[in-house]
Symmetry: D2
Subunit: 339 residues, 4 copies
């Protein structure tokens, strides 16, 4: 950690800081430049992270030299993590596709979707039972009934299932029905919920927050890992920017960045990322090309009558043709020349 001091920091201020730090067992390198004085702090990540250095009088800027995450970082765990869900491995050689409707709406809807996406090659079935909606007047999900239907569809098709837990009070109930717990973008910094799923014995899919930096995202993963649950799957779903043509701005660079910084697997959700079904297939191809470990895609047998997120859902047919295309050795320059 480096402290850049204010230009007019007094001798006394500097001495006071150094004394304070040394008392805490931190070694301090003093370095006087032309304009500014800087202090290099050497100590364990633990010790340094607890120092209230930003409030020391005379300190202008604090530069963190080490990443603030440890358990989520590559240096702690150089090999990529592979997370097993039933017979599926997320983070292995093969990309995994999670597919299904935004919300479970009825037995027919979820069963029809499950059978169809299974056939097309999906590895997991998704379906929301508790839906975060901006408006209190919008459909909020079927609740436990939705989870039951989802579990039933999973059982019938042999697909493991995933659904969002929005609320610590429901965690135990949700856990009963699902194979993977999903934490939504709006809950990425719901620290109480992070800790609770960190003590659960199910893998957790952690979506990136609407305006979360990659570092903050990894820190939220750190909350879960730190409670003892090693099975965290990241999911990029678009960030909020000034662009309005797409619902969010899908930040695909996050894929190689996460691969560089962390051992955790990363999926991409092009449905929320773009908000328009038309762009889901090209962005799915792009996500895999960037190195994503898989996709999370919204599929609905009848998007027009969907009770939530219809405009971004693929029909069963669209999903089949996208999956077919993704299985072809397609992208690259030569390939396109021959196509």
């Amino acid at each position: 950690m480096i402290l850049v001091l204010e230009q007019d920091a007094s001798r006394e201020q500097v001495d006071r800081i150094v004394t304070m730090l040394e008392k805490k067992g931190v070694k301090v390198h003093y370095s006087k430049g032309v304009d500014k004085t800087i202090l290099g702090l050497i100590g364990s990540k633990q010790t340094l992270s607890r120092l209230p250095v930003e409030r020391f009088s005379g300190v202008e800027k604090v530069v963190h030299v080490s990443e603030p995450f440890k358990l989520a970082g590559r240096s702690f765990h150089p090999e990529p993590s592979r997370i097993r869900v039933g017979e599926v491995v997320i983070g292995g050689e093969d990309p995994v596709v999670i597919a299904g409707p935004c919300s479970v709406e009825s037995r027919e809807q979820i069963l029809e979707t499950a059978r169809s996406v299974k056939k097309a090659g999906a590895g997991l079935l998704r379906g929301g039972a508790f839906k975060p909606r901006s408006s209190p007047y919008s459909f909020q999900g079927l609740g436990e009934e939705g989870l039951k239907l989802l579990a039933e569809a999973g059982e019938e098709t042999g697909l493991p299932v995933i659904s969002e837990v929005m609320d610590p009070e429901n965690l135990d109930m949700v856990k009963e029905y699902v194979d993977v717990l999903q934490l939504g973008a709006r809950n990425m910094q719901n620290f109480h919920l992070l800790k609770k799923v960190g003590r659960a014995d199910k893998p957790v899919l952690l979506k990136r927050g609407l305006s979360a930096t990659i570092e903050e995202w990894l820190m939220s993963a750190e909350y879960i890992l730190n409670e003892g649950n090693p099975n965290v799957i990241l999911c990029e779903r678009g960030i909020r920017t000034f662009e309005t043509h797409t619902r969010n701005t899908l930040d695909l660079s996050a894929v190689p960045v996460i691969k560089h910084l962390s051992h955790l697997p990363i999926l991409v959700d092009p449905s929320h990322g773009t908000g328009k079904w038309r762009y889901v297939a090209p962005m799915s191809r792009a996500a895999l090309a960037a190195g994503a470990d898989g996709l999370m895609v919204e599929v609905h047998p009848d998007p027009e009558s969907a009770l939530s997120d219809g405009p971004q859902s693929l029909t069963l047919e669209n999903f089949h043709s996208m999956m077919k295309e993704l299985h072809q050795p397609a992208v690259g320059m030569q390939a396109r020349q021959n196509a």
Copy 2:
């Protein structure tokens, strides 16, 4: 509500949409332009908000003509809401200042702060007991012990107290100790929590989310109002942008915008908004000049040793001199000329 149809929408698609809408009791105005066809939908806000129009095949764009909030809107409630907390009125003639430390750290710290800010003219005492922190390794607050100390300091000084509730499971406990429940920026769309505080019998201070639009913010207020709690106080605390010199970008325009759209009172938190104590006083003056109903300011007897958010906290002295200045008939062109 207006539907703009895709240029190549077929006769059948249009007919299907119109039939579907009329069945739901919606009147449809059909209008064919040079390039595009548009449908004007006329019906109650309730009915319209439940239509899955965005997923209708052939629809390119949906334009919402009415605001999506009702209870929070000016048309529903033309007079500004005044919220009474003890002897203080938020939303009345006099701006109200909420002051206190980011976190309650000890009896001495909170008592000393309470006495001092009371003397300087603060109307409420703030102090965090449960702290949302990006890192699991940072100080997370004293918990219930912190609330007890806060309540004690409130009682001694006669200041009503406010503290953040982060978690539905703790709501009952927090409610016992505080006069106003605070919902933090990260929880602005924690819908379960919104509903729960909507059923509580205490006023709620709702901070704007880091990347929430003003409309989304009012929709979150709508969640609380819709559960029966009319006492919602909004608090602008800065949004996330590309600018890095300040911790957030304090969006003071939100003040007149909220005053135009809603009857709810709005406070401004320049401490989180700027992240640097140096900018707290000028932005406090600006907030009041923009029409804010008050301020929420972090004050600490010894910011250098604060366990959280020290760099943005005012010392007791700084707070006193700011309050003195705010009480002077100071700002405006003539005033400055004479100063």
Copy 3:
């Protein structure tokens, strides 16, 4: 075009607006809803775009139903545009790679790079001679001398060359040396320059502005097309967001969006998009997978001594291995399974 009127718009205001519009030859559809009154305006894009409707008293919101661009739009020109530069076609079946250093620094540097990228399969050679730099103290490019060296390297290798024109006064000179004129992100709304290159007889590569929406970007292309130059190539190079790990946020969704809205070809610049050489190869693969017509990549024989943008430049070796990889029929699910 649709006008949503203010809730309290008076009968007189409405009449005045309608009269004014009808005088201009616009047909008006009047539609009174429960809360709001809306007016549908029917007329040619030309006529409508010149109406000062947003300032009419009583108008709350104006909704543009048609896209504001015409020449750049798909409806005007349904077939994708193919732009020929020497023997290379941009927008055809084969993706095209533009490669070369950020700045031309010396004859050796540009010649060595040109020979190497040619061998690796690049289609055009890039090299800056006039560099936009945030600081007046940074290297600003070799100027005309740089253009000469670039042209020489192009001639020797047979690669067409591209370089940025920053200033209308230099346009004639730059045009002498290059095959494609580049307009940088900071000049995307330098309207004078847009008009001038619109009258030039060379193709123009138009980079997206740091905070430009896709619609604004297409409107800037419209400026060029409107002056008579049909050869506009778009280039996505990342937008500015709150994320700091990457230099910009590469918005790959812009690729399918542009393909949907426009007939113009689109390239992607992953070097500026990410700012780090490490992420250039995966984002290049992703860009092609998303459907980009090619890439623009910074390559330098010795990035460490580069006078600008070294951290995002590939070495010659890195570029060769990336190109080799891009030529393999690589990405897709099956492909990865077999790899």
Copy 4:
């Protein structure tokens, strides 16, 4: 300047960097921490700014300890700059208001406005003659004719005038007619134009770019100062964010930040900042309360028929009542209590 090395930087890499730096006359402090090695570089700002350190192999991060601007900074020039335009001083005790229409449209329009704003207390008259417009089909200004009318109105009323220069080729012409040269947001990084106005003998008003950081803005001022023109006036006019209710997000915190970092005066443009006339008065009050040296406000005798930016223009009456209010010793807590 500080270099943070990559964790796996080799002994040779470090030696190579140190040798390279010492050859350039830079003193290097070597400091080995638990995880990372850091190098502190000591040398003149000039020398350091020219080092291609970011490209050195083995360097992970470069931390700039000193501000990159010198001439614009407070340390170079501790006293605030006062810029005299005719009899008006910008940056002195009294706030200055620049008022006038977005575009000069006719002699009557500009004369009527000039007389009216003069009477209300405006210090300068604004009026655009060359207008940057997103669409090539929108009104682009009257050109030189507009400048003539503006100059005439200025002469008649005794108000100095300001107008935007968009294009280096027009600079000499614009300079003939105006007292202050305006550089628009879209040209904040038009470096050629910055240099040219830096050699002009007229004060320059430099608007902040739509997505420019405060540091980049000051670097653009540095370009002008570095060419010898000391008379730079900054103008905050809103930045681009995700919020759509206002046209831009007016970043009033920029006012105290600029006051802290720089000696240059800063104005605020609430018309572009909010895009809606309704919010201009409260944000004007807030800007002055934050410490701005003045305002730039759009005023039009008939905003409904304005050829550009009508929705954000005040009528003459609105401007008068705003100015009257701004001259009253109005804002502050006590003041409000008595109001």
